[in-house]
């Protein structure tokens, strides 16, 4: 066996860098290490004295109660969370037609009261449904008024839409009926 003294065949590695860069870009685009998304909420400012009892017209208030067993009571009747969005839309966008819903979107208020034993999961789900209802209403208004969706409007027009459909959620102090702590 004659050992031939052949030169080592070098693999052309010049494209390796390109492949590696492609991989890098792929990872950069597709992976999100940290979720940084969520529902924005603005809390009311704190005051020592209890808030004044403002008499709201009862028909304007959509009161939502959540108990410690994660059950919903909306306007005095049990409701499935899947129906909450439609009901909220109906309530807000009533314009005084039906006597049990709000007079106008501007007057409509959502009153949310939860128990200390309510799971956070359901609380977020309810907040999400309310927000979804308002987003759809705002989208509908923006479509009618400007012919585009709410998201793509400029700030001034967004403000106008928001003024027509203001999201008013009033959160009551939770009760501790479930006795969790």
């Amino acid at each position: 066996m004659a050992r031939s003294k052949r030169k080592l065949v070098e693999i052309n590695a010049s494209s390796m860098a390109d492949i590696a860069f492609l991989l890098l870009i792929f990872f950069l685009v597709t992976t999100t290490m940290d979720i940084d998304k969520g529902l924005h909420v603005l809390l009311p400012p704190y005051s020592e004295e209890p808030p004044e009892d403002t008499q709201l017209n009862k028909r304007n208030v959509l009161d939502i109660l959540i108990n410690a067993n994660d059950m919903l009571l909306v306007k005095g009747e049990p409701l499935d969370i899947a129906e909450l969005k439609e009901l909220t839309k109906k309530h807000v966008d009533n314009h005084g037609v039906l006597p049990e819903y709000s007079i106008s979107p501007n007057d409509a208020v959502v009153s949310l009261k939860n128990d200390r034993g309510t799971t956070y999961d359901l609380y977020v789900a309810v907040q999400n449904e309310l927000k979804a209802a308002y987003n759809e209403l705002r989208d509908g208004y923006a479509m009618k008024r400007f012919g585009v969706k709410y998201e793509v409007l400029d700030d001034l027009r967004k403000k106008e839409v928001r003024q027509n459909y203001p999201l008013k959620i009033s959160e009551a102090e939770p009760e501790d009926i479930g006795k969790t702590n």
């Binding site: 031939s4 940084d36 998304k37 529902l39 909420v41």
Partner: protein
């Protein structure tokens, strides 16, 4: 046949390792990019709830994080399984939140303070009691912009 066997017996040429540094560098970059976001070690369980109406959190430097959940792993022995609040790297009480917010405020420019957001990273199984207490403390500290951290839900209906 004999010819083929002869060929197979030859030593295989060494693979060039010239590009190995590149690959290592890329890995490095990748980890640098991926880990820069997480400044603290999360010591509590955090399975985010699902939602559809999500908004992105802008300007990370203006965001402070509050974790609430059951302590995980080695911390479970020490702190139990009841949900706890984590601020920065340590477990804290509700009353520490005010100080925490003041600390966060002192890190940023005065003009940017109203734009500061508190991200509530609460485990989905936590009961609302502790969350409400934290919210109350945030109101007292006048940190009113909050964000309930959540992950997108795949909506079947749409």
């Amino acid at each position: 046949m004999a010819k083929i066997r002869k060929k197979g017996g030859k030593e295989t040429p060494a693979i060039s390792t010239a590009s190995l540094p590149d690959i290592i560098f890329i890995l490095l970059f990748f980890f640098m990019v991926a880990t820069v976001m997480r400044e603290t070690e999360v010591k509590v369980e955090f399975k985010p709830p699902k939602a559809t109406e999500l908004q992105k959190l802008e300007k990370k430097s203006l965001v402070s994080y509050i974790y609430i959940g059951a302590p995980t792993g080695k911390y479970e022995e020490k702190f139990g399984t009841a949900p706890r609040i984590q601020l920065n790297d340590t477990f804290a009480k509700e009353t520490d939140i005010n100080q925490f917010i003041q600390n966060e405020r002192s890190k940023v420019d005065e003009k940017l303070i109203p734009a500061m957001t508190t991200s509530m990273r609460v485990d989905r199984d936590v009961k609302m009691g502790i969350v409400t207490d934290v919210k109350q403390e945030l109101r007292k500290a006048n940190a009113l912009k909050i964000n309930y951290s959540a992950v997108p839900k795949v909506d079947i209906k749409r």
